[in-house]
């Protein structure tokens, strides 16, 4: 009797799993073969991303480019004053290593933290808010200079304990729906959640233009949304929790090409 129940439940689980796998149009065949969000998008969305002129995110990249040579703050400097007028020459390959460990802070720094550190300490200018057009523009511009290059964060040495924290965050169930990031992005990529296709949930296209937001947004903003979706209290953008989670996610995507600025649903 006991075994019948067990066998039935396992069989129904397998049956449904097979149904789910058969039904969905895009399936990650192996957990180790991670795909970019691009591969899960419709052809129209992919076309929007591929055309620099159709891609609305470039409005923000332009903002970042403008800010690069704009003098701001009491020190009378611009980014270009220290890093040179040729932004691409300096920036190429740099953002692929963020988040990075900061000995000064004793913890991880996301790209936004580093930008504000430079602004407040060297430029003597005001820090930019995480989701401001300037910060979105600058991070989109910076990461765009590494477009096509593989993500390459370090999680050994000083970064290791923070990587572990990020990983734990990812696996932890939370919220009213009691779900973890893993439940959607590791257990069911390629499967539909209502009419959206679940992706591997990787950050290689951020900051990204989201059709839903109708503007460019940061990875931490996306985390906040995901947390709210499972009825969990979101953390603040720029918080240690999200920065460590960003480190874990970026490491998962190590080797994947930067697509910033991407267009996602």
């Amino acid at each position: 009797m006991k075994y019948t129940k067990y066998i039935t439940s396992v069989a129904s689980l397998l049956g449904l799993a097979a149904l789910l796998v058969a039904y969905s149009p895009v399936v990650a065949h192996s957990k180790s073969k991670l795909k970019s969000g691009y591969d899960f998008a419709t052809p129209e969305t992919q076309a929007m991303q591929d055309d620099d002129f159709a891609n609305p995110a470039f409005v923000w990249v332009d903002i970042g480019e403008e800010q690069w040579s704009k003098v701001d703050g009491e020190a009378g400097k611009s980014c270009a004053s220290c890093h040179g007028d040729d932004a691409n020459a300096f920036l190429k390959g740099k953002s692929t290593t963020y988040p990075k460990y900061s000995a000064e802070d004793g913890k991880m720094r996301a790209l936004q933290h580093q930008i504000n550190y430079e602004r407040t300490n060297r430029m003597k200018a005001k820090a930019w808010k995480w989701e401001s057009d300037e910060m979105l523009g600058m991070t989109a511009f910076i990461r765009n200079q590494s477009k096509g290059m593989p993500l390459n964060v370090s999680v050994t040495g000083d970064a290791q304990p923070f990587y572990n924290k990020g990983k734990r965050s990812y696996m932890l169930r939370r919220g009213g729906l009691n779900m973890s990031c893993k439940n959607c992005h590791i257990d069911y990529p390629g499967v539909k959640i209502r009419a959206n296709v679940l992706t591997n949930g990787l950050p290689n296209g951020f900051p990204t233009y989201r059709l839903k937001w109708q503007k460019v947004g940061s990875l931490h903003r996306r985390f906040r949304g995901c947390n709210k979706n499972v009825r969990a209290e979101p953390f603040k953008s720029g918080s240690d929790v999200y920065t460590n989670l960003e480190l874990y996610l970026t490491h998962r995507a190590n080797g994947m090409s930067v697509e910033t600025p991407a267009v996602r649903n």
């Binding site: 067990y6 969905s24 779900m179 539909k192 209502r194 959206n196 679940l198 839903k212």
Partner: protein
């Protein structure tokens, strides 16, 4: 966790992850309007009639390119192509696009000229739900041609 509890927990997740039929109302997200104001093909016809000064349209010459399924109703790429030589004597004067299922049918009106050489325009529109999108082209000789395309608009499950 007992096997029964495990089954319930997994089923609960499965319920969420089950794919729902297409065509669910997605008005709230697009910012297009309240559910009480509904466009109908009749309203769209009325509007087009106004634009064409009452001239009836013939199906043909107008191709409306839209995705089968819109990834997100807030940004749906559309291209309208009209078969026309676009010469000074024979060209497309205007193209009017209507969304039959939006709270208000009018989307955009293009004014074209022979200087374009090709009667093809692209833009992006907002669609509140699954519906037909129609384009009416008024030619330089006063004739009107129309084309239609159905777009399925869905509600996503992962806002964020």
């Amino acid at each position: 966790m007992s096997k029964d509890k495990l089954k319930t927990a997994v089923l609960g997740r499965r319920q969420m992850l089950k794919s729902v039929g297409l065509g669910a109302l997605a008005l709230a997200g697009t910012g297009l309007g309240s559910r009480s104001a509904q466009a109908t093909p009749e309203k769209a016809n009325e509007y087009l009639s106004k634009m064409t000064s009452g001239v009836a349209g013939t199906q043909g010459k107008v191709t409306v390119k839209l995705p089968e399924i819109a990834e997100n109703g807030r940004t749906v790429p559309i291209t309208v192509t009209v078969d026309s030589p676009m010469t000074d004597g024979d060209y497309v004067k205007s193209v009017h696009v209507v969304a039959e299922g939006n709270p208000n049918p009018e989307v955009i009106s293009f004014n074209l000229s022979p200087a374009m050489g090709k009667a093809e325009v692209s833009t992006r529109m907002r669609l509140g739900k699954t519906q037909n999108v129609r384009a009416a082209a008024i030619m330089s000789d006063g004739s009107v041609f129309t084309g239609t395309k159905e777009v399925k608009v869905t509600i996503g499950g992962c806002g964020g």
